[in-house]
């Protein structure tokens, strides 16, 4: 009976962290699904968002959860600016989607951003000191720290809000239109460039929210970007590109996998395993487990 509870706890923890991962990947999925932009800087931007939350929290010494939304707002505009100033010119230049320059451009942004964070914050692993919500919920022998539960539920809320936004609002519909067919959307009067900027901003905001809720029970470090970059792509590819439910599903799968495999292997080896799964999924089912067959 004991064993069952152990596995159950692992499972629950996997689902919890997986949901947060899924939200981070949602940001990526949104940007990729709508703009067809493979953003190599996504991890670095996540790190930036987390560092912003960390920094504001430490400077103002207020409850971290109050910092997250303003930080997300800030990151929205950073994302918007990124698309507007750096990526849009490249898209404008070519007729189709210029894959190569965008890869290199975002790789350059990644390089600059990561090392900027390294320079400003140093290379130590930083954690947030928490007074709020330090307790744990206990169900049987399973203990669930409140901070993890908060991250879990806030991720669910954001996903639901995102879904509502995309399906019920005009702006959401415009975004979906652009993701389906940019040319036709433009013909229908949608300013596709502006939609792309908004989408990137939105993706950044979402990613920052999840990163921020991660902070209380995780650490922040300039290298976090690299780790999450591939993880995010694994999730997005696993779950199907451009779908929110796919990103969530992929996130949960990766979360459970991580937690379970970490019992028998070292953490870094788990990462390697995830990378291998990534390549495998790309080869076997590029559209992911839930994605529609695109091209």
């Amino acid at each position: 009976m004991d064993n069952l509870f152990i596995y159950l706890e692992l499972l629950v923890n996997g689902v919890i962290i997986g949901t947060v991962y899924g939200l981070i990947a949602c940001g990526l999925s949104l940007i990729f699904g709508v703009g067809k932009i493979v953003n190599f800087a996504h991890g670095a931007l996540l790190a930036l968002g987390m560092f912003i939350v960390y920094f504001i929290q430490r400077t103002l010494a207020i409850n971290i959860y109050l910092v997250i939304l303003p930080a997300a707002f800030l990151m929205f505009w950073i994302g918007y600016g990124l698309q507007f100033f750096l990526i849009k010119p490249i898209i404008r230049r070519e007729s189709g989607m210029p894959v190569l320059p965008v890869i290199l451009l975002t790789a350059g942004i990644m390089m600059a951003l990561e090392n900027l964070l390294l320079m400003v914050f140093g290379s130590s692993y930083l954690t947030v000191k928490m007074d709020f919500a330090q307790g744990t919920l206990r169900i049987g022998t399973i203990s669930l720290p409140f901070v993890r539960l908060i991250a879990f539920f806030s991720s669910l809320v954001v996903v639901a809000a995102l879904h509502f936004f995309l399906s019920r609002t005009d702006l959401g519909r415009a975004i979906r239109a652009v993701s389906q067919d940019r040319e036709k959307a433009r013909l229908l009067g949608v300013d596709d460039h502006k939609i792309l900027c908004i989408t990137v901003g939105l993706g950044m905001a979402i990613t920052t929210i999840s990163g921020g809720t991660l902070l209380p029970f995780y650490y922040v470090h300039p290298d976090i970007g690299n780790m999450f970059l591939t993880k995010c792509f694994v999730i997005v590819v696993l779950g199907g590109m451009g779908t929110i439910s796919g990103a969530l599903m992929g996130g949960i799968i990766v979360g459970i996998l991580e937690v379970v495999v970490a019992q028998v292997m070292k953490v870094s080896v788990v990462q390697a395993l995830i990378f291998l799964i990534f390549v495998l999924v790309l080869l076997l089912k590029p559209s992911g487990l839930l994605g529609t067959a695109r091209e």
């Binding site: 493979v38 750096l86 010119p89 490249i90 230049r93 894959v99 190569l100 320059p101 965008v102 890869i103 290199l104 451009l105 790789a107 350059g108 942004i109 990644m110 390089m111 600059a112 951003l113 990561e114 090392n115 900027l116 390294l118 320079m119 290379s123 690299n226 591939t230 792509f233 590819v237 070292k266 870094s268 080896v269 990462q271 390697a272 990378f275 291998l276 990534f278 390549v279 790309l282 080869l283 590029p286």
Partner: protein, 321 residues
């Protein structure tokens, strides 16, 4: 330039030039697959690492001179390139690049977590040191820096020649067709996979030889320096900034960035750690935005502008009229 050591015997300068030379060499090996074939791989450092580890371990365990060890390293890199290329080349553009990144990290993590393979002590993250034998040309070791200087220039010449022969051959034509439009090339009967694989194998082999040079010059090999994604990124950066469509692109890119980066790192690296890499990143962004074909395309751009002005003038347009 080649005769520099005769004029300037400051060992720091020579060391700097050799470091830059090595980057030029590696950037050119990357360009065989990145520029000539248009496949952006972020895992080039893996091949360099294979060469460095292979020749050094063979030297430590069997006393095999790195001159021969580097061939072994090259062959190992070719095998690894097959394992990487065959799956990855089936993926399009960005996903190819992502998967090379992922596989490169897998290799790095495996090496970091490996203490020994059979008789070879790999020593994981600590890395290995090249046993010092003093001045031993037969063992690819020299006390002074000058011999390394000449060797790296010969290597650069060799890779330039090889790149040139590839580019101007019929095979090179296939590669540039693939780089421009893979589907069209395939439709025209080009065996795309074979062509890409061949380029990758050549690139990997040459990169591994560069890895052996790295080991023999710097005398220490560890995963953080030799197998890291950051190293791959730097190599890609040098080639792209210079211009991948040109044979001399990687040379120009490296000549612009590497000495500058080295100087920044040496003077400000203490207080502003990583500053040179920030600048690298920003330069890459700027180049992609303003010089999409690299800095080496500058003469062409200028010539294009001049022609434009000439044409306008000939057509009777212009303020002077």
């Amino acid at each position: 330039m080649v005769l520099l050591p005769l004029f300037d015997s400051d060992p720091y300068h020579i060391h700097l030039i050799i470091s830059v030379g090595l980057m030029i060499y590696l950037a050119m090996t990357w360009n065989i697959v990145g520029g000539l074939a248009g496949q952006v791989s972020f895992g080039h450092a893996t091949f360099v690492g294979m060469g460095a580890y292979a020749s050094t371990l063979l030297f430590i365990n069997y006393g095999l001179t790195p001159w021969l060890g580097m061939i072994a390293g090259g062959l190992l890199a070719v095998v690894v390139s097959l394992m990487v290329g065959l799956p990855c080349f089936r993926l399009r553009g960005a996903f190819f690049s992502l998967s090379t990144l992922a596989l490169a990290e897998v290799v790095r993590i495996v090496v970091v977590n490996t203490e020994r393979i059979g008789p070879f002590e790999v020593r994981g993250a600590a890395g290995i040191l090249v046993p010092l034998k003093g001045d031993a040309p037969g063992l690819f070791q020299f006390n002074g820096k000058v011999p390394y200087y000449y060797i790296i220039w010969m290597m650069i010449g060799a890779v330039y020649y090889i790149s040139y022969r590839i580019k101007t051959s019929r095979y090179g034509l296939f590669l540039s067709a693939i780089a421009d439009d893979e589907e069209a090339a395939r439709a025209n009967g080009v065996n795309v996979l074979k062509a890409k694989m061949l380029a990758l194998m050549v690139s990997a082999f040459l990169a591994a030889i560069g890895g052996t040079f790295y080991a023999q010059f710097y005398r220490s090999v560890d995963p953080v320096n030799v197998l890291a994604v950051g190293f791959s990124m730097e190599i890609v950066l040098m080639a792209v900034v210079g211009g991948t469509r040109f044979l001399h692109g990687p040379i120009i890119g490296t000549l612009i960035l590497a000495p500058f980066g080295e100087v920044v790192r040496a003077s400000l690296g203490g207080s502003f750690f990583g500053l040179h890499k920030i600048i690298y990143g920003m330069v890459l962004v700027a180049v992609i935005l303003f010089f999409p074909n690299g800095i080496a395309s500058l003469p062409d751009l200028i010539r294009g502008r001049v022609k434009e002005k000439q044409n306008l003038h000939a057509a009777g347009v212009g303020a002077e009229e």
